[in-house]
């Protein structure tokens, strides 16, 4: 451990670049040389303990109870077309959701990357807030806006003189797609926008000088250069939508089911573990195959890029056309992503009779019933931010190492590991949660009822985001830059600090934002895991929504508004993080 701390040049190995050092055979040299390998083991070991081992145990229990293979209950899977239909629905809705998200968010990424305008960082922070909101709360915001008695319909009925509400999205595929865009817009915006911002515009300018039209430049120059970031973001969005649970269950209604929904139903409501496990396995196999194909394509398309500091590529919108583009996209972001948030916040300040009140916020601080389940807001904020901070650091560390591992060890290792690193995102949370119950029950891994499990489980979902954010930038680093630095006498650590870190820094911050977000929103597994008394903000929201009464509802919205505020401040803080060139580039 000590040696690793002292020699953090680890990620930047590369045997060729160290030849100017006189070979020494001391223990220290050996450690320096083998340190990368030791570090590389970290993400693999992490996944083994917190992912593969629990999954293996729950699959063993499901398929081989009492030591005998028992697949009788799986007959249902093949005999009925229902599961095949569910698989098909899961795939196509994820594909359409992903395409829509990318299509809508690419122009946004463009203006974020190329223009400087007032309130940019606030707008960017606002677009990420949806990510942390519980679906039940988002659903009420959608109903307030688009429901039969919502603002939009009331306004339309008033102006058009209609009797019936005009828009009825309730329990349709449209509301599912809309919600997926609402949640995931920010993934494309940040990952593609962050990458785009460092892409030198010179190639595009050259193409334009040579007579290419705007569309031709975009199609033949910009798009190919952006493709690593676009595919990385698309993959994340696809896998998110592929394992969609809350959106389908709550907004889609009982006629729609993804594999994830069916797994929960089978495991919890019907206690049919074999079928649940088989469906989980199908999910995992699908995610792995998809990632495998992606990795193959990715390896071929990645080329060194001319990456520039963003202050060299960004400017204020000058022409009328540019102002329109920026204005239009900002309007879209605000309209699509921010109105529901505002509706929620407005609700939390509204009295039922009309008028404004702080009552719900005041009430948050009062433990009226002297209940043991009361969560003081300060404590909820502290717990949430504490878990999210730990998750962010851990995810950055593991994600960065994992990304280097993938870049440095090309060949079979990375072609297997790259898909593997994405698996936690594409795996059923409830299956994994149950795996923890049976697998992590003995010392030294007696984690199942420990508070430490919460940030560890969050990291499992968060670190694929870091990997995907960092990889495109890392692969784009021109090796000649490193070689030049080395020739000029920089040691490996210095090369990493002066070349790699500034270039990857921006992407690291993007990864940090997502890691923080994933944890603040209590993504996935943790909500199903038995957890000791460390209530977080989402837990408090769910407790309020568990019982009837206007005060409970108001407090749930007040707590949701606080959650938005806390994550908003968190994003701005992360984006302002400037140390040693991180984020300045």
């Amino acid at each position: 451990m000590r040696e690793q701390e002292q020699n953090p040049q680890i990620p930047s190995t590369g045997s060729g670049r160290r030849t100017h050092h006189a070979p020494r055979t001391t223990l220290l040299t050996w450690l320096i040389r083998s340190a990368p390998v030791i570090l590389y083991i970290l993400p693999v070991a992490f996944l083994t303990v917190l992912f593969f081992y629990p999954l293996f145990e729950i699959f063993k229990l499901s398929f081989v109870p009492e030591g005998r293979l028992s697949l009788g209950s799986l007959e249902k899977l093949v005999s009925s077309s229902y599961y095949l239909k569910t698989l098909w629905f899961t795939i196509w809705q994820a594909t359409v959701s992903m395409l829509l998200t990318v299509l809508l968010a690419l122009p946004g990424a463009y203006i974020i990357a190329r223009y400087d305008f007032l309130g940019k960082s606030v707008i960017q922070a606002l677009t990420t807030i949806p990510f942390v909101l519980p679906t039940v709360v988002v659903a009420t915001a959608f109903t307030a806006l688009l429901g039969p008695r919502g603002w939009v319909n009331t306004a339309l009925m008033g102006t058009l003189g209609l009797e019936e509400p005009l828009i009825n999205l309730q329990f349709t595929i449209w509301i599912i797609l809309l919600a997926h865009v609402f949640y995931n817009y920010t993934v494309v915006l940040r990952i593609v926008g962050g990458f785009w911002a460092n892409l030198s515009p010179r190639v595009e300018e050259a193409a334009a000088v040579l007579g290419a039209g705007r569309w031709q430049v975009f199609r033949e120059v910009t798009l190919p250069l952006l493709s690593p970031a676009i595919t990385a973001a698309s993959l994340l969005v696809f896998i998110f939508d592929f394992t969609s649970f809350g959106v389908i269950l709550i907004l889609g209604g009982p006629r729609y089911a993804t594999l994830e929904v069916e797994i929960y139903r089978q495991a919890v409501n019907l206690f049919n573990l074999p079928v649940a496990a088989a469906l989980s396995l199908a999910q995992i196999v699908f995610t792995f195959s998809l990632m495998w194909v992606y990795t193959r394509l990715q390896a071929r398309t990645s080329v060194p890029l001319d990456l520039r500091a963003r202050r060299q590529v960004q400017r204020a919108p000058a022409t009328r056309r540019e102002k329109w583009i920026v204005g239009g996209n900002v309007a879209l972001m605000l309209g699509l992503l921010t109105t529901p948030l505002l509706a929620l916040a407005a609700r939390s300040f509204s009295e039922s009779g009309g008028g404004w009140t702080l009552n719900f916020y005041r009430e948050l601080f009062i433990n009226r019933r002297g209940s043991i389940m009361f969560v003081p807001p300060i404590e909820a904020v502290r717990n949430s931010v504490g878990f999210a901070g730990a998750t962010t650091l851990l995810a950055l560390l593991l994600g960065l190492i994992a990304a280097y591992l993938l870049v440095r060890r090309r060949g079979w290792i990375s072609s297997v590991l790259d898909p593997v690193f994405m698996l936690p995102l594409g795996t059923s949370a409830v299956t994994l949660g149950f795996g923890y119950i049976i697998a992590l029950d003995q010392p030294p891994l007696n984690l199942r009822a420990s508070p430490a499990l919460i940030p560890l489980a969050h990291t499992l979902v968060a670190f694929p985001f870091v990997v995907r954010s960092v990889l495109p930038a890392l692969r784009g680093i021109d090796p000649r830059l490193r070689e030049a630095a080395a020739v000029l006498g920089a040691g490996p650590w210095r090369v990493w600090r002066e070349i790699d870190l500034p270039i990857v820094g921006r992407a690291l911050l993007v990864g940090a934002v997502f890691a923080f977000t994933v944890s603040m929103g209590e993504f996935g597994a943790t909500i199903f895991i038995a957890r000791p008394q460390v209530p977080t903000m989402p837990v408090a929201i769910f407790r309020f929504l568990g019982q009837p009464g206007a005060l409970n509802y108001g407090q749930a919205l007040a707590m949701s508004t606080l959650l938005m505020l806390v994550v908003g401040v968190g994003f701005l803080a992360i984006e302002r993080f400037r140390v040693g060139g991180v984020g300045e580039f």
Partner: protein
């Protein structure tokens, strides 16, 4: 400068990794004993669903009387919590489990995860709540899943609220009801069981015929209680359904958690002719409990008057102990339906999957 900070981050992250491994081992030491106490308090863990709640001072009383430290382990909804208890039966997560209801009763019994115990407090509990003659699972509270209606909405429309299940298929109630999916929701399952109990499986008009009529009358189905109540019910949301499947204790909760003090509940309960289904919640000592003696004490306590009288305002259900007095808001605004539908846990367990499948085919497909 930068190097130092970066190192600090790396070191910090590694410390967190280490802390992650170290925390569980430190856990027992984090509760320092009171210097006054002669012995360190013993720890007892109560696993439950997320809806468990109690007053701080009531639980503190238990801790003081027994020199105990009570750890709570809320573990998801009723189904998820029970599943985790069953999965961990070789090495239980807790000493006592609370929150098995009569729809999950047989699953819990079949898994054999509970040990028998006969507390004294059982004398005050009516026989109809005691479903296990061996006393492995003991009743703690009960509540009825019933239709709720929005009083203001029906007043405005000049319409009488429905009186019973049959009324819901009448034309004047078309498109007014939101119910939960029995495959994903506990009140949804309870309401479906009420219709099974009331209409039966045989005869000219079965429960499925009833659901066919409800479907023709434009019933809305959602996946969970939260979506129904906070998403569709006119009395609690921007939705447009004045009838919802909820609990008989929802009206007192509406009064208790009102924005302004209310004399009358804004919602009412349909109690007529088997329209409700009674959920009884049970507690039991888990096999392999580390502290059997204290577990018995906890069950005694939870069946005793203090805890039982704490139940209504904390969990919004009724105590099974007949000696427990109801709080005023409950006595005033809660209804206990006379004849809830009667379906035995055995019948539920045998037929649950089949009934849900048939319901799904009839109502959703």
């Amino acid at each position: 400068m930068f190097e130092a900070r970066f190192r600090a981050i790396v070191v910090g992250a590694m410390l967190i990794v280490l802390a992650g491994c170290a925390v569980p081992m430190q856990a027992p030491a984090t509760q320092p004993a009171e210097p006054a106490a002669t012995e360190a308090p013993q720890t007892i863990t109560l696993m439950s669903h997320d809806s468990f709640a109690a007053s701080e001072d009531v639980l503190a009383q238990f801790e003081e009387e027994n020199n105990a430290k009570l750890e709570l382990l809320p573990s998801g909804d009723a189904g998820a919590a029970l599943t985790q208890a069953i999965l961990s039966k070789e090495n239980p997560l807790a000493d006592v489990f609370f929150g098995v209801d009569n729809t999950f009763f047989s699953r819990a019994m079949e898994a054999g995860i509970f040990e028998p115990y006969t507390p004294e407090g059982l004398q005050n509990v009516p026989d109809r709540f005691i479903l296990d003659p061996e006393h492995r699972l003991l009743p703690v509270d009960y509540g009825d899943v019933c239709l709720n209606y929005d009083k203001a909405w029906f007043d405005e429309e000049g319409l009488e609220p429905p009186q019973n299940l049959e009324d819901l298929t009448q034309l004047e109630y078309e498109g007014l009801l939101v119910a939960e999916n029995p495959a994903t929701s506990s009140p949804g399952l309870a309401f479906m069981l009420a219709t099974v109990g009331h209409f039966g499986e045989l005869g000219d008009y079965t429960w499925l015929d009833y659901w066919l009529d409800l479907r023709d009358n434009d019933v809305t189905i959602v996946n969970g209680w939260e979506e129904a109540y906070w998403g569709q019910f006119t009395a609690a949301s921007d939705g447009d359904k004045p009838l919802v499947v909820s609990y008989a204790s929802s009206p007192p909760a509406e009064v208790y958690f009102a924005e302004e003090p209310l004399d009358e509940a804004p919602t009412g309960v349909v109690t007529g002719g088997g329209a409700c289904f009674r959920q009884i919640e049970f507690i039991g000592i888990l096999k392999g409990a580390k502290n059997r003696a204290l577990a018995e004490k906890l069950i005694d306590f939870m069946l005793g008057k203090t805890f039982q009288e704490d139940i209504p305002l904390q969990m919004f259900v009724f105590p099974v102990n007949q000696a427990a007095e109801l709080p005023k808001v409950f006595a005033q605004h809660a209804v206990i339906p006379e004849n809830p539908a009667d379906v035995s846990p055995g019948a539920i367990d045998q037929n649950r999957d089949r009934w849900i499948e048939a319901w799904t085919q009839t109502v959703l497909r």
